[in-house]
Every structure is written in C-alpha cells, then in structure tokens.
Assembly symmetry: C2
Homo-oligomer: 266 residues x 2
C-alpha cells in the first residue's frame, strides 16, 4: 500500500523526498491492531502517543451519563488522531475501532523530532489539524440544520471524498463499514429513522448500499441532495467533483459523470 499519510499530507503541501522517507519511518515504528468495537483511547486517558490510522475505520465519540452516544468524527487511513499530546493533559473523547483497525503509534519524542526538523511536515500536520476542525464545524451544521435525508446524503458525500483523497475508492464505490446504528450516532438520529432514510435515498437512486459497500452513481445529484459543498474539506485535487459545488445549479446534469444502473430490485 502506498503510504496513506504521505498521500494525505501531499493533498495539502508539497513534500521533499527526505520528508517522504521521514514519514515512512514514522509509520514503520510500532503498529498495533484493535478489534472492532474496542476502544483505541478512552475519554479521560492521559494522551501518550499520536495514532495514525493505517488500515480500517475508527470513530471518535463522546457519551452522556445516561448512555447517549455522539460520534463526532470518523477516522480513515491517513488520518491522525489528535495531535494534542503536547498540549492537553486528558483526552476529551474516546476513539473506537469500527472495523479491524491497524494503527501506527507515534511516540511523543519521535513526533517532537519531526516537528523541529521537518518544517514541511509540520505545516502539513497543522493543515490536517485545521481541516479536521473545519470538518467538526460542518458536522455541527449537519446535525443542527439539515434534515435526516440531507444529513445522511452529506455524510456519504464527505466520507467518499475523504476516502478518494487517499486512494481508497474504486470508481463510484468505496467501503463503508459503519452500521446504521453508527450512522445514527453520527447524525443525531435513531437507527430506525436512518434505515428508513437510507431506503429513501436508495429509492431515489442516489446511493447503492450493500454489505459495507457504498456506491454513488451520481455524485453531483447526491451533493445537491445533501447541500454538500466540498470547500470545507480544503482539498486540492477535487476538480473532478467540484463542478456543481459552488452553485447548486439545477441544469439536469449536462456532462455529469453518471453510472447507469441497469436493473435494481424494488
């Protein structure tokens, strides 16, 4: 696998060969494997390393005393879990594995060394951190303003593009392992309502979801349905998809890349 972190960071800033080999060394340190549903870090822990997702999906979440859970972000390969070990003394959220998860553990002093000696990497890390914060803002908008239908459409768009930026999509498809309960906890809905809403998205031919696999036959249409504007991801190579982003134009989709679905069960 090409290094997902490198790919992710080059989304933001150019790196030299020296930077790249330094990054490769980072991820060659100790790696660990977490089983689905298990926590990688837990709220209240003292942070001791930064984790880089190598393979699989995770989610960052907080819980209320009565058990309500809110997922505040998903983490996919190339994502770093909170650069805050130099700063905050307690984790304010937990991180759980959704799939089988492989992460690289980057120790405090290793990261410190990188930051002092590799300014390009430092900038790129900052960038990732700011983008992650921007994604938080968009999630506030999502749960605060959008309807159930829009929220889920928006989430599908976001995760597809985030996976695409690290090369983890195949044409119109990508893995999508969160359960409907996970989606519910990420969007502030109930699992029952998520189920019905996804059925409506399916009925409108906006998504095909089957066995942890998401297919988006007509991305511009889905973006329109989710009031999705990719600016907040601050990607550089999104030209493929941003055609219809700035204006939510209604012109029947001239020249849009669209996957023809030949037959589909009712």
């Amino acid at each position: 696998m090409p290094n997902a972190l490198t790919r992710r960071l080059e989304e933001y800033t150019p790196l030299t060969d020296a930077d790249r080999s330094q990054l490769a060394k980072l991820t060659a340190q100790s790696t660990l494997t977490i089983h689905p549903k298990h926590d990688l870090v837990r709220e209240g822990d003292a942070p001791k390393s930064v984790y880089l997702i190598l393979d699989g999906w995770a989610c960052c979440y907080r819980t209320l005393p009565d058990g309500r859970r809110q997922i505040v972000d998903f983490a996919v390969p190339g994502d770093l879990c909170d650069l805050n070990l130099f700063i905050l003394d307690r984790m304010d959220h937990s991180i759980a594995a959704i799939t089988r998860l492989r992460v690289a553990e980057i120790a405090r002093d290793v990261l410190h060394d990188v930051i002092t000696n590799h300014p390009n990497i430092t900038i790129a890390l900052w960038w990732q951190e700011m983008v992650s914060k921007s994604i938080h803002r968009e999630w506030i908008v999502n749960v605060g303003q959008r309807t159930a239908f829009e929220r889920i459409a928006h989430l599908f768009c976001e995760m597809f593009l985030r996976l695409e930026s690290v090369g983890l999509t195949n044409g119109f498809s990508c893995d999508f392992p969160p359960t409907q309960t996970d989606i519910a906890d990420a969007t502030g809905l109930t699992a029952v309502h998520v189920n019905r809403t996804i059925q409506e998205l399916r009925r409108q031919r906006l998504v095909i979801v089957d066995r942890q696999r998401l297919t988006i036959p007509d991305m511009p249409a889905l973006q329109e349905a989710g009031l999705f504007n990719s600016e907040y991801l601050h990607h550089r190579r999104l030209d493929r998809h941003t055609l219809s982003n700035k204006v939510f134009d209604m012109n029947g989709g001239l020249g849009r890349p669209t996957l023809q679905v030949v037959s589909q069960a009712s």
Copy 2:
C-alpha cells in the same frame, strides 16, 4: 482592562514577563471596531490577519444555500479567531459581530515573529486552538444528542465559564447579548422554541435572563440540567465549579453555592 488574551493564555501555560509584554504589544497594534450584525470576516475570504477579540461578542457561522444559518461558536474577549492564516487559503466560515465589537488585528508577519521567538506563547496558542476544537466537538454532542432544554442549559453553562475564565463575570451574573434567534441558530432550534424553553428554565429557577444579562443562581443545578461536564473546556482554575461535575450526583446539593432569590414575578 487587564489584557484578556494574557489572562486566557495563562489559563493554559505559565508566561514570563517578556511573554506578557510581547502579548501586550500584539494587542496594541491596529484595532478595529465592527458594528452589530456586521461581518468581521466572510466565508470565502482569503485570511490575511488573525483577529483577537478585545471587547464584545461575535459569532462564527456557516449558512446553507437556502438561508439556514448555523452558529458554530461564539467568540468573547480573549478569543482568537482562527489561527489558520498560515495554513488555509480560504475562510470556511464567517464571523459576525453580535454587539459592538473591538478587535485587534494581528498581521501575519507579527504573529510569525511571535511564534518563532516565544515558545511559551506558541504553546499557549496551540492550546487555545485545541480547546476551541474540543468545544466544537461538544457542540456536535449538544445539537446531536441533547434535548432543547438541555442544549440551552448547556450553552448558558459554557458561556458563563468561558467568560469567568477571562474575568468577565460578576458573581452569579454575566453579559449575554445573543438574541433568542442567535441562540436558536447556535442550538439548531427555532426562535419560538428557544423562547418557550428559556421560560421553562426560568420557571425552574435555573436562570434569570433579563436585558442581555444572564444570572445563574445555582450553577451545579444548571450543569445537571444541561448534562454539563466542564472537562472539555480544559480550564485549570475551575475548582469552584467542578465539584459536581465528574459524577452527576443527586445529593440535594449540600454546600453548593446558591443565590437566594427573594422574590420573583410569576
């Protein structure tokens, strides 16, 4: 006025006299005044400076194409508006004045100088940035999981403690200039429902809201009502209020500081 930024940063990390005088110089640069309802920065702008709130309230928000608005954070004196000018090329949100607003404009190169020569300040700035991100997470939880009643109680708790940390509270009271429409846009509710919910908070003697002034006669009770746990603010001097935070204990409030309200109109 004692420098709110200094006070805010010392919440996080100790500063030397040199640091403090450097911070004083920062805020002595150009200041500008924004009128209520006017934008300080607008989504899509290229960021060219960092703004430090000196006086008044602002809000950071995003809007959807059909006009729905979500406030994603409030900014009060001592808050820095997005340290991302070195990083992101476009603002992904707008910032508007709620009251008459005085801000210090800190130019790119001035800030760059501070960051290279004053490591303590740099750490403190990082800290503030991480805390701001943590607040974003809490807002996702707020709009995603809490009821209207809990959301508004939570918002009142948060803003009171944030103001307290920069010395802008008087006993049990603080200024609270956002309108009910602003509160609605911050909590993902409608103004009508915010109105009814605040009435219920009043009826339960949890808050007194009058003319832009908020009084919290019994903070632990309000925290309980809002499922509020101040850990996410990562403050250092919160011992006053954190007694009942870690466990939401139900023991009638022995020894809680409580303001006796002598009479109150029905």
